[in-house]
Symmetry: C2
Subunit: 546 residues, 2 copies
């Protein structure tokens, strides 16, 4: 035993060791900037003092109803103030916030409520019908159902025993919340959208939420007092931890019920929005919006995009509109963004297209991340940094989930040798930036050659008539598989299958060009990811039919 003078009489005590929790951000901001605008929702404008008072009332009312450490509080809601408040009020009690994807059907919601053992469910009127059915199917005993009343939605009906405002009225503003006893305690529960099988419940902890919220600030170079528009659903990875980031920076949370181009552009102008996040499908919607919607935008609006790899062409068009796009990558399991395409000054002088191509890469680890590599599964041997050799993306860090709730086998499978296995395939470029090539199940193997579906989609997006594109494998007797593209064209476009295949052949290796093009809308998950399993099924059906 070596003598270590630094380990004697220097133990942690309540003055020098405090559990990290994102709740501390709102407490501090409400104390320092009580009169500053915190939340905007239609005609509702609340300060930080008002919002914090509502959170305290909410938390005390939950506690009075027996809710506390380790209990699940579920919410089915759009990006409305109550959803924002739940990110503070629920963890204050020691309970765990479970935000539910609003586009799920009643059966899927019922599975989640049952699996999470929900003690409380908060319901946005827009989703009262599906929530009512889900609660009925789940048959939860003693579960408290709370109706949110919201002027921005005309419709719905009461399904619970009290309203959110009644709940708040029963609470106390002088509620003295306590830090979690341990920063490893669960703060939230997010079910993966899971394209097959039952969804898995990803558990976040206070420590990770605190650190990833700060990491957002550093990664994005965020100043104090950003005005943040809620284009990204808060039910998705807790809005990439941005409710907590906005509290830490004393910003303004501009709520948004429906993600529509007109509402987004209107709010950007009216509230002088400085920052927003969105899946690439949201960006595509904005660039393809009618020109009259886009007039009068101020310069330098910062956009963070991720969730699905954004086509370089969409990035280029966004930047041409004056937006400053930062591309991030992560999974529900990594609290949202854990990788960011950090900009290099030496790229400043490049052409717009070249800049967009570089920005379309997923990038490098964020501040909160503790490691990122592309390696061979099993051996965990990193692949060469040649931009070509495909391997699996592995991460580690304090922004990796605790694990999947009540699912030890899935948890064990996802952690390998001190790393989290993402299930995504990618390459490592010589400059240390990663680029996703596919989900492991999305790669197309044609004549023994790997074809990245994302690479083919990227070329299709460069065609001026293409609004959306998704490429999957179509079974083929000769080649094993061939690329099959599903494409949505701009309204009124007359582009043909032959046009697009020819365009692809001219813009990439010929064997990678799609052999089939199917026109129409693309099926998507609630987070804007194309449901490729459905497209694969359709491609298989084509084969059978031919």
């Amino acid at each position: 035993m070596t003598h270590n003078i630094y380990e004697i009489g220097l133990e942690p005590n309540p003055a020098n060791f405090l559990p990290l929790t994102p709740v501390s951000f709102i407490e501090r901001t409400a104390a320092i900037y009580p009169d500053r605008l915190a939340v905007v929702h239609g005609t509702v404008r609340r300060t930080w003092a008002e919002t914090w008072a509502r959170c305290r009332r909410f938390a005390s009312a939950l506690e009075a109803r027996g809710i506390g450490k380790g209990d699940t509080v579920s919410i089915i809601a759009s990006n409305i103030p109550e959803m924002f408040e739940a990110h503070f009020g629920v963890p204050m009690t020691g309970a765990v916030l479970n935000t539910i994807n609003t586009r799920l059907d009643a059966e899927a919601i019922a599975f989640i409520l049952t699996h999470a053992e929900a003690k409380v469910v908060l319901v946005d009127p827009e989703f009262s019908e599906v929530a009512e059915r889900a609660i009925h199917i789940a048959g939860l005993r003693g579960c408290i159902v709370v109706d949110i009343e919201d002027a921005s939605y005309d419709g719905g009906h009461r399904v619970g025993s009290l309203t959110y405002d009644e709940l708040l009225a029963s609470g106390r503003e002088d509620y003295a919340w306590e830090l979690p006893a341990n920063e490893w305690e669960a703060v939230s529960l997010n079910y993966t959208s899971g394209t097959t099988g039952n969804p898995k419940g990803v558990v976040y902890h206070h420590r990770g939420a605190y650190l990833n919220a700060l990491s957002n600030i550093v990664t994005w170079g965020m100043p104090q007092h950003p005005t943040y528009l809620w284009t990204l659903p808060m039910f998705h990875c807790n809005g990439w931890c941005f409710p907590w980031t906005i509290a830490a920076t004393a910003g303004v949370a501009v709520c948004l019920r429906a993600v529509r181009a007109d509402a987004i552009f209107d709010l950007i102008r009216a509230e002088k929005v400085s920052h927003f996040c969105g899946a690439s499908v949201v960006l595509a919607m904005l660039v393809h919006a009618p020109d009259e919607l886009k007039s009068g935008l101020h310069a330098g609006i910062k956009v963070m995009t991720g969730g699905a790899p954004p086509p370089a062409a969409v990035i280029a068009k966004m930047e041409a509109l004056g937006f400053d796009v930062t591309h991030v990558y992560g999974l529900t399991e990594t609290y949202g963004p854990s990788v960011s395409c950090a900009w290099q000054e030496k790229w400043d002088g490049l052409s717009g297209d070249e800049r967009a191509r570089l920005k379309a890469r997923q990038g490098v680890q964020s501040i909160a991340s503790g490691g990122l590599m592309i390696a061979r599964p099993g051996s965990l041997e990193p692949v060469p940094s040649d931009g070509e050799t495909i391997g699996e993306i592995f991460m580690r860090g304090n922004n990796v989930m605790k694990g999947y709730l009540k699912n030890p086998s899935a948890t064990d499978e996802s952690f390998q040798g001190g790393w989290f296995a993402s299930g995504d395939l990618g390459v490592m470029h010589p400059d240390g930036y990663i680029e996703i090539k596919d989900r492991s199940k999305d790669i197309i193997i044609s004549g023994g050659e790997n074809i990245s579906s994302i690479e083919v989609e990227d070329v299709l997006y460069k065609h001026p008539e293409v609004m959306e594109a998704a490429v999957v494998a179509r079974p083929d007797e000769k080649w094993g598989e061939t690329p099959c593209a599903f494409v949505r064209l701009r309204e009124g476009s007359a582009a043909t299958e032959k046009d697009l295949i020819g365009f692809c052949q001219q813009n990439m290796a010929r064997f990678k060009a799609p052999k089939t093009i199917i026109f129409g809308d693309l099926p998507k998950t609630s987070t804007g990811k194309v449901q490729k399993f459905m497209l694969r099924q359709r491609a298989r059906d084509l084969e059978t039919a031919s």
Copy 2:
């Protein structure tokens, strides 16, 4: 025992729990921005890849010499690249970095080296003589003394067994450093300048250094890639954690051997400095510098000041020069800044003087702080937020020291009921901002009334001829004590004692005005704090002599 589904099968593992350490910042930045400028020192310009390689060489060379966990590596150096590198190279080995105040005498340095049980001492040539004597007095056995060679200092002599460059040459760039086993492990050791008695060794840990470095970014709204000028000594609270902040933001560390106005203005222009920190005495030096030095400054340079309360007049003059001043407050025991005078938009329209007066208040807790209050010692009962009732300043948070090294009684005394007792006296304003009134030993009690020495100094600073002022108690038969001011006038000024006393009487309550003015230079600690114990002695001597 209640059933908690979140505590089963969700334990930490190496993929999702990593000890926080500021070393991770430089590793990440060097990987992402290898070719970006990291350190500037005269003609030396090194990138992050080069700096990180030097840190790895340094760490491996230390480890090869048996240095590791719990060992102390001391350094006596100006703000030169080796000092910056030591903030990473030393903690990488598990050893503890002990930066020593360069203005101490040999006896004080010897005390520190002995008390810290230094295993290695790095010596800047400027301090070779005092270091040599200190090492001799300390008589440390087996201590490795390393000479730094630096072209910016002409003189000094070798006192060690090898040079820093020789040490690096013996190290390995492929050194694989390891995270600390526990983020609570010590990262650095800073001795308080202690105006009486032996200095106390304040111990920081990896967790606090990481969090306070990020807190600097959020508090100051720092963007990526700041250009930071080293006007604040790195030996002072590890430069308020800014070596780690600069690494986290991939900024540029502009070194500075001597804090002189000409060198500062030259470097600000030449390197396009965006941020710097300094004690208020540095700011006073800049505002009083000849006008020709100040020409051609770019706009929006951000200055963080603290260490001693800056007179409002100095802040106003700095802002008139175009600098954006943020006032922070903290102690060695709080990793430097733990309180910040957060700006409120509603103050934007105020006059320059009024703005400066508000900025001269110490402010509110930073993001890393977990609590701040003004309370009565003993009972810990908070004083009213009336801006008048004086109490002691208490803090808590992850940026409060582990304790004092090998000094359990001082450690125990400083922690009271879950709080750190700062020993500073202040008031809480109605808006939640604190303002320091004095160190507890600096308050002047005259005729039973408390007089804040800082308040008197603030008035003196408003006099156009006053360059520096410090006020202490002078024993008085009638009043008990009266305020005695020590003043340094602008060069060539003809202001008299009568002028200044009259000025004070017109600008504050008459009884608070100084009864005595002594002209001359003020004795200061290395961190720019006036050594009031010396002035108090001189004031006592006056009494005896009169």
